[in-house]
């Protein structure tokens, strides 16, 4: 499908006409019809599993069958269900195939495309049983999701503006430029109940409104895509899969607050997302959707990309601003808030990338529609990066108010290997662990905070019985300690001391007094740190102490790690009944601390044992007991 114009769109009606033409072609038959489509997920996980090889194999078979013109192979962004990749979808009947290998190309083309018969063995089975799901809509993983932010992810080629426009891209921009006033846009945001998706949940409309209350002059819009939580990849996937949507949200934000310039601050570690945003911005410029006098409306807005350079603290808004200014990204005391005095001292609206990705849909379908989707206090949906001990890891988007149980079991398919769910970690290093018994908690900003965690940017890690909660707390603290910018003492010194106590406990030297000391120190750091990073850093400790105190006690009193993760607390011995004296353990022991003659039971010298676990791994008779 050729674009109707290579020139700038002269006005909003040209954009509408273009969209109508693109949509008509998609629904048409015969000569006017757009080609049939196979959408292949080119998200990070599917690429790593060989999605490109699958595309090449399909292209070769299509060419041989003379179908290359009639069937388009489209590499899309992330479709979500990463673990069963490479995945692809045939758009006409929405058949969704999983675990596709290059050698399956033959069957997909001859059976499905030519003979019209689905390839049963590549369909997704539902988690309970064998019934294969024929199409995307019948797969549990998708059925329970509501996709607003991710609505185009996996459906469009992120490099083609036509695909986006056919799916209502820039329709919201057209709507506001056709007569909406900035305060009407802000009123729509207020009606939507949209709260900041970066984690703190500040009402977006209020942030925008505050910026408009400043004296006339230069203002800025910043998009925070410095996604730094370990185990979170929502922004990355979203920007790689649908860069146009966040850009549209920023332009609308600029219109609402009277800004003409915006910055996207994105991690340098996301080279693909950066390239796709750059490309999307070039296309927007070309068609006059970005830049001077957008579609001859008189409104101008332009965006620059700034690359983050690997500092977690730059996710904090004042630190991010310092970083764009070219300095060390250290936070400062608020007030003044960036809405009043931000980048270069000018009023600055700073929102998370996911927040911006919600804006166009709110304008298109109305704030009230959006608000109905969520809970009373938080409207809309939230994207989570579901990972850890869960069957279907990947990106999921659910209405706020969905329970943890629905996310982990119904969408995520539950914990693999019949293990028991122990806890769910939300909010990354700033969040906490919610115990399994609270799985019916309906997720929104306030309920998670009450449970001792936070919404955060959307990381959701499922933990099972093999995970030691003290070790998890230590993991997050070592991250926060490493990333503390050093400006304020409570965070710089406090996180270091907390980490030391946790290391002492997992090293087997902890005492009951250490637990009290830990709690006191954690509360102190929480109360007295300068910025959100420091204030939230103790959350993993406080939440695990609250919900899993027994596990801490086992470490310090019994000197045992119930989940058998903390090496220093493990003990190995050999069950004389089960040992047949095969000598495998003795031969593999690096410390040479296992004694015993052939065909007699062996013995481990606990004093010499280095607790490496090698004997436990190599014994084929389960004779080595680890406690």
């Amino acid at each position: 499908m050729k674009s109707p114009t290579l020139k700038k769109l002269r006005d909003v009606s040209e954009l509408d006409a273009w969209r109508a033409k693109l949509q008509a072609a998609a629904g048409a038959t015969g000569a006017d019809a757009a080609p049939r489509q196979i959408l292949i997920c080119f998200g990070g996980s599917c690429l790593a599993s060989g999605a490109k090889e699958v595309r090449d194999a399909l292209a070769a078979v299509l060419k041989r069958e003379g179908l290359a013109e009639q069937v388009a192979l489209v590499g899309t962004g992330c479709m979500g269900p990463c673990v069963i990749g490479p995945v692809l979808m045939i758009t006409e009947d929405r058949t969704f195939y999983q675990g596709v290998k290059p050698e399956d190309a033959e069957e997909i083309v001859t059976e499905h495309l030519k003979a019209g018969r689905r390839v049963e063995r590549l369909l997704v089975s539902d988690p309970s049983g064998q019934t294969p799901a024929p199409c995307r809509e019948s797969i549990e993983f998708f059925k329970r999701q509501t996709q607003i932010v991710l609505r185009n992810c996996g459906w469009v080629d992120p490099g083609r503006i036509e695909d986006t426009i056919a799916r209502d891209g820039y329709a919201a921009l057209a709507k506001i430029l056709s007569g909406m006033k900035p305060d009407e846009v802000i009123a729509e945001m207020k009606a939507s109940g949209l709260r900041g998706r970066g984690g703190a949940g500040f009402p977006t409309w209020l942030k925008w409104h505050l910026a408009t209350q400043t004296p006339e002059g230069e203002r800025y819009v910043l998009c925070n895509a410095d996604e730094g939580d370990p185990g979170a990849f929502m922004d990355r996937s979203m920007l790689e899969s649908d860069p146009f949507n966040a850009i549209e949200g920023m332009i609308i934000g600029g219109f609402a607050v009277g800004a003409q310039r915006g910055f996207i601050y994105i991690r340098a570690e996301y080279p693909l997302a950066i390239r796709r945003i750059q490309h999307a911005m070039e296309l927007c410029h070309k068609y006059g959707i970005l830049g001077e006098n957008i579609m001859n409306s008189g409104f101008a807005f332009d965006i620059e990309i700034r690359l983050g350079a690997g500092a977690f603290v730059c996710g904090e808004e004042t630190a991010l601003i310092r970083s764009i200014e070219g300095e060390r990204g250290q936070p400062r005391i608020r007030p003044p808030y960036p809405s009043q005095s931000g980048l270069w001292g000018k009023p600055t609206v700073i929102n998370n990338a996911e927040t911006f990705a919600n804006i166009a849909a709110i304008i298109n379908y109305g704030g009230e529609w959006f608000n109905r989707l969520g809970t009373e206090k938080s409207g809309g949906t939230k994207v989570f990066a579901l990972a850890g001990k869960v069957r279907h890891t990947g990106l999921v988007e659910v209405p706020l108010g969905t329970t943890l149980r629905e996310i982990v079991y119904d969408i995520g398919g539950g914990v693999p290997k019949d293990k028991k769910l122990k806890a769910i970690q939300t909010g990354g290093p700033a969040g906490g662990c919610i115990p399994a018994k609270w799985a019916d908690l309906a997720v929104d900003f306030d309920t998670l905070t009450q449970a001792g965690s936070i919404m955060g940017s959307g990381g959701m890690i499922v933990l099972d019985e093999d995970d030691c909660m003290v070790d998890i707390a230590k993991f997050y603290l070592s991250f926060s300690q490493d990333e503390s910018c050093g400006k304020c003492t409570p965070c710089r010194e406090g996180t270091t001391r907390i980490l030391e106590i946790l290391e002492k406990i997992t090293g087997g030297d902890g005492t009951v007094e250490d637990l009290d000391r830990l709690e006191r120190l954690a509360k102190l750091v929480n109360r007295s740190s300068l910025c959100g990073l420091g204030r939230a850093a103790p959350n993993p400790v406080l939440s695990t102490l609250k919900h899993f105190r027994a596990e801490y006690l086992a470490h310090v009193v019994d000197k045992r790690c119930p989940s058998k993760r903390c090496k220093a607390l493990l003990h190995y011995e050999i069950d004389a009944e089960k040992c047949i004296g095969c000598t495998v353990c003795a031969r593999n022991c690096p410390a040479e601390c296992i004694a015993g003659a052939r065909k007699t039971a062996h013995v481990i010298d606990a004093a010499k044992c280095v607790k490496c676990g090698r004997c436990f791994e190599v014994c084929r008779f389960d004779a080595v007991i680890r406690t």
């Binding site: 990070g44 996980s45 370990p230 690997g310 970690q425």
Partner: protein, 185 residues
């Protein structure tokens, strides 16, 4: 190491001058500085571009940039050392980044990292003496479904087992000898 007496004498007595072979890069660096010096907030993009030129930030480059931006060397060094993206040392041919994002951590990422440490004989942030491998820790490459993952340059290796790290290193060397790394299944 080379004979100290034959090294070019710098006024300060250290090795903070560029090699003859770097002159083309130095010319480019001057262009980069000219491009960014008057842009508000241009220091970090300038440093990022400089690092992509040299592969790291050599001290003389930092001095040049400081001069160009009218800042002290300590101010620029303060920015450089604040951000983990910047490195003051050359990296190896293969940059091994072991993911320690939460998903990889709970699925054994730490054990994978330990195996790389042991097999390569270097710690995190170091480079092997033959400049073949550098070892670093990553925080999520967005391939959590395939945890634990390791990224070597631009190639993602998934479901890595500690016991097979030695094999993987051999594979990296042989793939690179055969002419390039590609996406690995």
């Amino acid at each position: 190491m080379s004979d100290i007496s034959s090294a070019p004498a710098a006024p300060c007595g250290c090795a903070c001058t560029f090699d003859e072979s770097d002159q083309a890069l130095v010319a480019k660096l001057h262009e980069v500085i000219a491009d960014y010096r008057d842009k508000p907030g241009g220091l970090i993009p300038a440093l990022q571009t400089a690092q992509s030129l040299f592969g790291y930030l050599p001290e003389p480059a930092i001095r040049l940039i400081a001069d160009g931006f009218g800042k002290t060397v300590s101010e620029v060094a303060g920015v450089v050392t604040f951000y983990s993206f910047f490195t003051l040392h050359p990296r190896g041919k293969h940059l091994v980044r072991v993911c320690l994002g939460t998903a990889c951590y709970v699925r054994g990422g730490k054990e994978v990292l330990d195996a790389f440490r042991k097999k390569l004989g270097i710690d995190v942030g170091e480079t092997t003496p033959d400049r073949q491998f550098s070892l670093e820790v990553g925080r999520c490459f967005g391939a959590c479904g395939m945890a634990p993952v390791v990224m070597v340059n631009d190639t993602v290796y998934q479901r890595v087992k500690p016991a097979r790290v030695g094999e993987l290193i051999g594979q990296i060397i042989s793939v690179s000898a055969a002419g390039g790394e590609k996406e690995h299944a």
